[in-house]
Amino acid sequence: MPRPFTSLRSRAIPMLTVNIDTDQIIPSREMRSTGKTGLAKGLFAGWRYLSGTDYEPDPAFMLNHAEFAGAGILLAGENFGCGSSREHAVWALAEYGIRTIIAPSFAPIFQNNCSRNGLLCIALSERAIEEISQLDGELTVDLSTQKIALSGGTFWGFEIDDEAKAILTSGLEPIDLTLKHSASIANWQAADAKERPWIYLNPQDQQGHLS
């Protein structure tokens, strides 16, 4: 079950590159087991380390700057999370400690994966993100009021759809929520099996349909 998200106070790590893809977030070579854990070390591995073999931190990379140690907010360019649908990208970010990503836009599969794992994606304009990136100090992200507050008293509001907000706030498992509709699902399938019988395959028949 994902951790419920209420609010977060943290510095924001600026990585204002556009089109940061999931191959960069977690290179395939860093996905070493069929589990969902042990991925934080591989986060941004291609950029974060001086070479792919010894994991020696590259001091130039933002995540390795001392001031961003333990930061839980990432600032990024548009189309963040594009590319492969690998949920490992989100698991790696979450395990590293990122809980909120602020970008002008997100790739659809990635954004959905985030809300399934307790990560909040906030879409703000490039201008707002640039402004935030130039500030020193911490931000407070509050999901209930949908506001990002800065130390000086300024804030930005953000939009989030009700479904993502409800799941993030409650930490509820979407499968449990959906199974409350089991009767509707069964009714729909029974009616659909009459209308579109070709969709329903015979479990005993590995060849597909019995004609």
């Binding site: 204002l16 590159t17 556009v18 940061i20 191959d23 960069q24 070579r29 996905m31 070493r32 087991s33 069929t34 969902k36 291609g46 950029w47 590259d58 990379f61 933002m62 360019g77 548009e78 594009c82 590319g83 492969s84 649908s85 690998r86 949920e87 836009s105 790739a107 659809p108 599969i109 959905n112 994966n113 794992n117 490039e126 640039e130 130039q134 759809d161 009700d162 479904e163 979407p174 499968i175 959906t178 509709h181 089991s182 509707s184 699902i185 729909w188 399938q189 659909d192 209308e195 019988p197 070709w198 969709i199 329903y200 395959l201 479990p203 590995q206 060849q207 597909g208 349909h209 004609s211």
Partner: protein, 493 residues
């Protein structure tokens, strides 16, 4: 490195790959009431699959087909089992070994990536426990998910299909709503037969005109992305239409839909027609006999109604397009083959790709050539590449590899003697799989190599550490392999 730093070049700005065209996507301002009368193809599939309205602007949508693979299949199946759940209808869940399976001849479960064998064996065990259909390493029907799903008649017009793989949009070519999801949603769909979805926006992309000689479906989709950016699809469901799309064969339509994800779309769809139905008839899992007739009748309604409204529309004159090739590390960093690296190209990208502003791509030396992937490794792709390779040889020192999209594609190609043309030219001829489209299998091109590739992504290090990938059509890959440098294939045809 692409990450921003304190350098003045990117300070206060977003590091951006330059596009040679300005962006011009116009949202048309839909009047919602119109939807009730005239529906898009997407509207029809969405409405029919709506089980319950569970949220504002969204619904619980029934999922007809789920396809897993060994890279994420075991995660989803094991996670489901750990929660004490089973797939609600295992007969509609499929799984194939394609992502990290070795593609070298004589393969087994062994794969070069550390721990890779466990992905294969654990997926196999989990699939057997769950009672789902499994296409194992040595199964004659094994192949890349998005190639075998149509080959086996698993995807059908009007159905909903998901896979934890971003290129699931390929299968929209059959008039299905097919899209990529993460592992959690694959698990959700298996457990409940549904997904919780916000209704996506819709976009109509019309291609008109007859493409000139040597311009393929790959070039159409690359041109779209180059012009409207890698996020131009804005999470929409795109309906590809127009005379150009109608004239494409099913395999070319799959290539077109395949890269909707590189356009930032949720997926793409093409209304089914006679070509679609002919392709699917008598396939293994397709309905047969009276069931086929009933399905065919039902599928006649799978088209966009006249006057149906889209949120956004784009029209492209295909007659004006040239073969396309990527120059950078984002798919929208793509230009016509005869073009030059844009004068405003990002410096960090240029440093990675080792090119200069204004440099012509034609004539740039390559180290390797790759024909494969769910984008361009079907029989028609191999035939077109073989036409260029026949009686020619790959330039000395070039690593050249061909990986058929499925075991069936491989057998068909071998029956036609295409394998011999590839081998005679100096290409390796492999077993089917995703292979070096990305190096999930642990095999990769040499560090820093420049590779011309019929695949879909030119991301940094995707095909190996520091590998410089140029994506293009199979023809361009074949011609460039022969010359040992990026080549306009029309010169060899």
């Amino acid at each position: 490195m692409l990450c921003p730093d304190a350098d003045a070049e990117v300070h206060g700005k977003f590091a951006r790959t330059a596009s040679i065209w300005p962006r011009s996507v116009y949202f048309t301002g839909v009047i919602v009431a119109n939807r009730a009368m005239s529906k898009t193809l997407f509207d029809k599939i969405w409405d029919r699959h709506t089980v319950a309205p569970i949220m504002q602007g969204g619904a619980l949508i029934a999922i007809d087909r789920i396809f897993l693979h060994e890279r994420t299949g075991a995660v989803a199946l094991n996670s489901l089992a750990a929660a004490g759940r089973q797939p609600s209808d295992p007969s509609r869940v499929f799984c194939v070994m394609d992502h990290i399976v070795d593609t070298r001849p004589g393969r087994s479960d062994k794969t070069l990536i550390p721990g890779g064998q466990a992905f294969i064996s654990e997926t196999r065990e989990a699939a057997k426990r769950a009672g789902i259909h499994l296409f194992d390493v040595t199964d004659p029907d094994q192949g890349i998910t998005h190639v075998i799903s149509p080959e086996l008649g698993i995807v059908l017009p009007g159905c909903t299909l998901i896979t934890p793989d971003s290129h699931t949009c390929t299968q929209g070519a059959f008039g299905a709503l097919a899209w990529g999801v993460g592992s959690s949603d694959a698990e959700h769909a298996m457990a409940t037969g549904t997904l919780r979805l916000k209704r996506p926006k819709t976009m109509r992309v019309e291609f008109t005109g007859t493409p000139s000689q040597g311009v393929t479906a790959k070039d159409l989709i690359l041109a779209l992305i180059a012009e409207h950016s890698a996020s131009g699809g804005a999470g929409c469901v795109i309906e590809f239409c127009g005379s150009t799309v109608r004239s494409l064969c099913m395999e070319a339509r799959m290539t077109l839909c395949n890269m909707a994800t590189e356009f930032g779309a949720m997926t793409a769809i093409i209304a089914p027609d006679g070509k679609t139905f002919d392709y699917l008839e008598n396939r293994r899992f397709a309905p047969k006999g009276k069931l086929w007739d009933a399905a065919l009748t039902d599928w006649q309604d799978l088209h966009c109604d006249e006057n149906a409204q889209f949120d956004c529309e784009i029209v492209i004159d295909a007659a004006k397009l040239a073969p396309m090739i990527s120059w950078g590390t984002s798919v929208d960093a793509t230009i016509p083959i005869t073009g030059c690296v844009p004068s405003n190209a990002d410096k960090a990208v240029l440093e990675y790709i080792a090119l200069e502003r204004g440099q012509q791509l034609i004539g740039t030396s390559i180290d390797a050539a790759f024909i494969g992937s769910c984008t361009n490794a079907r029989l028609s792709d191999l035939r077109r590449a073989a036409k260029i390779l026949k009686d020619r040889t790959v330039s000395a020192g070039i690593t050249a590899i061909c990986v058929p999209g499925s075991s069936e594609v491989k057998r068909s190609a071998e029956r036609e003697g295409l394998d011999q043309i590839f081998l005679d030219a100096g290409f390796e001829w492999r077993e089917s799989g995703c292979s070096m489209c990305f190096f999930a299998g642990g095999e990769s091109f040499a560090e820093g190599a420049r590779v011309i590739s019929s695949t879909n992504r030119n991301f940094q290090s995707r095909q190996g550490v520091s590998v410089k990938t140029h994506i293009a059509s199979p023809e361009t890959v074949a011609a460039s392999a022969v010359r040992g440098a990026i080549t306009d294939h029309r010169e060899l045809n």
